[in-house]
């Protein structure tokens, strides 16, 4: 019944036997203990569970773990590099882009992809790019400013 999967998560190789119906987010949280990825709606509408799979932002609550086999996954725990915050993480801290913090990991992963695709996004492009992620605390304005901060930082202007 169980299927073998092998994935790379944050640079570490894992091989596990999982039930075919196990959701990727549960694999990350419960099998690997990476609880930084959150579940907010179970229906891919809120984006709290966003991770990067082979560089693409994916909502891990509506993907099976077996579908991820062979891929390279990055979660929020893998964003800082040797203790140095990712520019997007820095932006969220600097610009008060979070309050309760629950949507934050997904927001940071989605924001990283926005900048990966478009290092100099306009404010409107950032707002559009965050359309798949819900935040109930911040009203988004500081989140948008956090991404702008990160864009400047990445381009060397900040």
């Amino acid at each position: 019944m169980k299927k073998a999967i092998s994935v790379d998560v944050n640079g570490v190789a894992y091989e596990n036997e999982v039930e075919p119906r196990l959701l990727l987010v549960h694999y990350l949280r419960d099998t690997l203990g990476l609880t930084g990825t959150h579940i907010g709606c179970e229906t891919s509408l809120c984006g709290a569970c966003t991770v990067l799979i082979d560089g693409q932002a994916v909502k891990s609550c509506t993907m099976f773990a077996v579908q991820a086999t062979g891929s390279s996954i990055k979660t929020i725990e893998g964003m800082a590099n040797n203790g140095d915050l990712h520019p997007v993480q820095e932006g969220f801290w600097e610009k008060h882009g979070l309050q309760c913090g629950y949507c934050t990991p997904g927001m940071i992963m989605a924001s990283a992809q926005i900048l990966d695709r478009n290092p100099q996004p306009t404010r409107e492009e950032i707002r559009h790019g965050l359309d798949g992620n819900l935040c109930r605390c911040t009203g988004y304005q500081h989140i948008v400013e956090a991404v702008e901060y990160a864009a400047k930082k990445v381009s060397g202007a900040g």
């Binding site: 039930e19 119906r21 196990l22 949280r29 203990g33 990476l34 609880t35 930084g36 990825t37 959150h38 579940i39 907010g40 709606c41 179970e42 229906t43 509408l45 809120c46 709290a48 979660t75 929020i76 725990e77 964003m79 800082a80 915050l85 993480q89 969220f92 801290w93 600097e94 008060h96 979070l98 309050q99 309760c100 913090g101 629950y102 949507c103 934050t104 990991p105 940071i108 404010r123 950032i126 707002r127 559009h128 965050l130 359309d131 992620n133 819900l134 935040c135 109930r136 605390c137 911040t138 009203g139 988004y140 304005q141 500081h142 989140i143 948008v144």
Partner: protein, 799 residues
């Protein structure tokens, strides 16, 4: 002493763990051998339960136990309601349904299994024999007969209440005009991004139960759950780990919290339940839910004479903690920012076959502000007076404070006209009106909406609260000089780990990073009330401030003893007690060098060195207080102080929001042109956090004004059961908010703070609706009900 931290934009100390994904919400707390609970919930809005068959579920793989209403009937008390309105009818609200279910989502059975997938599978195997009953959904239908939910009560009216001062009949008959409007405050879902969650672990040897819960009120929950399940309150520990938003939805005692605790005691194992979003939509409290009738009387110059509001409050099927009390807050705030000689509210609280309404960000006050601000707009339109001007004409002047309202309140302080003037200047009001006029001539639909709100915060004096309105703090300086603050408030995103540390660091003259703020653990923190009603800083922060002052009195005495002088000879500055005479010398650089404690090699505590010194740091004093070798006579060792602060009044923040919108003639869609807010929340501890609170609140208002609505069909089925159907604002929907503020300190507390958590949801909604109505004024529109969707606008444009 100049503040080093207070008033500054200090980055949050909470953030590193949150942005790295290393924080712990309830579902991130992992205990070995944890069992998982899933609930069978009613699919009917109103039905008799003729039987429940759990046989197949119990046989399912991984299932350990299944509990139904019969199992808990004699074991777990009802879900509590703290409101004690005279004549209030209180249905028996059990943690699992008894003879019948009264709303969709009503818990019927709890399945316990070894993993969450197994528990979820097994709930489909529980067979419930329902006999459906007539359903009442509409609140006015419930008030006027309709199928009766509780036969014993005879009708669906839970309570009726009339409040207000002044002769309303005379006030209205003295008016030149009386304007009437029916308004709907639709039901909203709070949608904290983290739903509720409970982990309970019973320690059978010690007879102790620990419950981790995503709640805003750990201590009140401990008291209530202990009573519900019959465990000593001192044997129950409630921990709120990271809490992923609340907005009032976690200011409650829920069935699942008591039930999980009880199940853990039955099975002697940890048990966990994590709410799904669907459960959150069905069975976590909703907010608002009022249908009301406004009558406003005014003179021809716009002066208000009286306001009457007859309101039907949609309470839902049961009372949660504060359900019946919410409309009473609406009554209290009906004077808004205006002088209204006579006010009357008549509340009819009604049972309906829906989830309970309760406190959602603003909790009764957004409804009041909406009523008053819509009424002012009606007056302005009727008399042809500008919306800003009609407001200005009815403001109390700054020298009229404390201002007594006809709802029985004393507003503490305010300068409403300055906030309005500043907001008008910021948005360029007269120019904007010119542009609007020009746009209309071109056939474009631009509207400007104004709200000059006042809100009631810092809840509040205990006499006015159902379960204590004070807040507590303990402040301790540890032997190494580190400062520990324990607050009875329970922040869940507001950032008080930072803002309280700012206050403490300034008061004690220590580094911000040497202060740790602990909250949300009844095993560690003294009894507290919690975080809601924009109270944490105004009440809890004040408790901390006074505790620090007590602590410093003691430290001053110890320091004087150590320096062999009178306490009055010492001055405290920059974290150091100095002989007044020595301060001048210190300024010239001749004072003694002092080795800070905590930096001694090898980790050993150093001995305090006082010989020949003229000053001591507060850390020196803390160490001496713990070593207790040279304390003044009759002085307790240690350096800590606890204070329970009872506020004498509420606080009343205020402000002006002005919004400009343009409506697309073809689609009815709306675009924000400008959003300007000038808010006054009293003294500001951290402007960045204040802006964040305002942004979040304003955008929740955008949701209410434009998108959000909990919809039940006529059978009581929840139509908006997922985030696909319930429209929470997204990043592309928001207006870009331009914030400014005035700062009128509150005289109610020594910090001068008023509170800001709910200002956005209170101030913004009427401004947005007002702007849409203003844009559609050429079509004869005087009012539109929320949420104002493009379809409604399109229909007007195409009528």
């Amino acid at each position: 002493m100049a503040d080093k931290y207070v008033g500054r934009r200090v980055k949050r100390t909470e953030d590193p763990r949150l942005i790295k994904g290393l924080a712990h919400y309830v579902d991130d707390v992992r205990l070995p051998d944890t069992l998982h609970v899933a609930f069978v919930r009613s699919v009917y809005a109103h039905a008799r339960i003729n039987g429940i068959d759990t046989t197949e579920a119990l046989k399912a793989p991984g299932v350990v136990a299944v509990y139904t209403g019969k199992d808990i009937a004699e074991k777990i008390g009802p879900v509590p309601c703290a409101s004690a309105l005279p004549g209030l009818k209180v249905p028996d609200y059990r943690v699992l349904a008894q003879e019948k279910v009264c709303f969709v989502g009503h818990p019927i059975a709890a399945v316990v299994a070894t993993d969450p997938y197994a528990a979820r599978d097994a709930i489909d195997l529980v067979m419930v024999d329902y006999e459906d009953l007539p359903v009442v959904v509409d609140v006015e239908a419930a008030a006027n007969g309709g199928p009766v939910i509780y036969e014993d009560f005879g009708d669906n009216i839970a309570y009726k209440l009339t409040a207000g001062e002044g002769d309303i009949e005379a006030a209205l008959s003295s008016a030149d005009r009386i304007l009437k409007q029916r308004v709907v405050h639709q039901r909203l879902a709070p949608i904290a991004m983290e739903g509720r969650g409970v982990l309970a672990r019973y320690f059978p040897g010690e007879g102790e139960l620990t419950i981790w819960s995503s709640t805003q009120i750990p201590h009140l929950m401990r008291t209530q759950v202990a009573l519900m399940i019959g465990i000593g309150e001192n044997k129950l520990r409630v921990i709120t780990p990271e809490v992923g938003g609340g907005f009032g939805s976690k200011l409650n005692i829920y069935a699942e919290e008591a039930l999980l605790g009880w199940i853990s005691m039955q099975l002697n194992k940890p048990v966990k339940w994590i709410e799904t979003r669907r459960e959150n939509m069905q069975a976590t409290i909703h907010g608002r839910g009022q249908v009301g009738y406004i009558e406003i009387g005014c003179k021809n110059d716009g002066t208000l004479t009286g306001l009457r509001y007859n309101v039907f409050a949609d309470l839902g099927a049961y009372h949660q903690l504060l359900t019946p009390a919410i409309p009473t807050l609406t009554g209290l705030m009906l004077s808004g920012a205006y002088k209204i000689p006579a006010i009357q509210i008549n509340v009819t609280g009604c049972f309906t076959n829906k989830m309970a309404t309760d406190a959602y960000r603003g909790a009764g006050r957004p409804e009041a502000t909406y009523v008053v601000e819509r009424a002012l707009d009606l007056v302005a339109a009727e008399l042809g007076i500008d919306a800003a001007e009609v407001r200005r004409r009815n403001f109390p002047a700054p020298n009229e404070f404390p201002f007594h309202t006809a709802t029985g309140l004393e507003y503490d302080s305010g300068d409403y006209e300055t906030a309005l003037n500043n907001a008008q200047a910021l948005i360029g009001y007269s120019k904007l009106r010119e542009e609007q006029k020009k746009a209309r001539e071109e056939g474009r639909l631009i509207g400007i909406g104004i709200s000059t709100y006042v809100e009631i915060c810092a809840l509040g004096p205990s006499a006015a609260m159902p379960a204590g309105g004070w807040e507590s703090a303990t402040v301790r300086i540890e032997p190494t000089g580190k400062v520990t603050v324990m607050t009875g408030a329970s922040p869940h995103g507001q950032g008080q780990e930072t803002s309280f540390a700012q206050i403490a660091a300034d008061e004690l003259g220590v580094d911000l990073n040497d202060v740790t703020v602990i909250h949300g653990d009844t095993g560690i923190v003294q009894y507290g009330i919690g975080t809601f009603g924009s109270r944490a800083t105004a009440v809890g922060g004040t408790a901390m401030l006074i505790a620090i002052q007590k602590l410093k009195e003691k430290a001053n005495r110890i320091a004087a003893h150590m320096l062999k002088c009178e306490a009055s000879n010492l001055a405290f500055e920059g974290g150091r007690y100095s002989l007044r005479a020595a301060r001048a010398a210190a300024a010239t650089g001749t004072s003694d060098p002092v080795v800070p404690v905590g930096e001694a090699p090898g980790g050993a505590l150093p001995e305090p060195q006082t010989e020949g010194k003229s000053s001591l740091t507060i850390q020196d004093v803390a160490l001496a207080a713990h070593l207790a070798k040279e304390l003044p006579p009759d002085t307790e060792p240690g350096l800590s102080a606890t204070y329970f602060f009872e506020p004498k009044n509420f606080t009343f923040p205020f402000g002006t929001h002005i919004v400009a919108v343009e409506i697309d003639r073809d689609t009815g869609d709306l675009k924000f042109l400008r959003y300007v807010a000038v808010d006054d929340c009293g003294k500001v501890i951290n402007p960045m956090l204040v802006d964040g609170q305002l942004h979040g609140g304003i955008v929740q208002s955008v949701g209410q004004a434009l998108f959000e609505e909990v919809v039940y069909d006529e059978q009581g089925q929840l139509i908006t059961g997922t985030l696909m159907d319930y429209a929470v604002p997204r990043a592309a929907h928001i207006p870009w908010m331009e914030l400014d503020r005035t700062e009128t300190p509150s005289p109610v507390n020594p910090l001068g703070v008023k509170g800001v958590g709910e200002a956005g949801t209170i101030g913004a909604t009427p401004a947005i609706v007002g702007a849409i109505v203003d844009a559609l004024a050429p079509f004869g529109v005087k009012h539109l009900d929320m949420p104002v969707k493009p379809e409604a606008i399109w229909r007007i444009l195409n009528a």
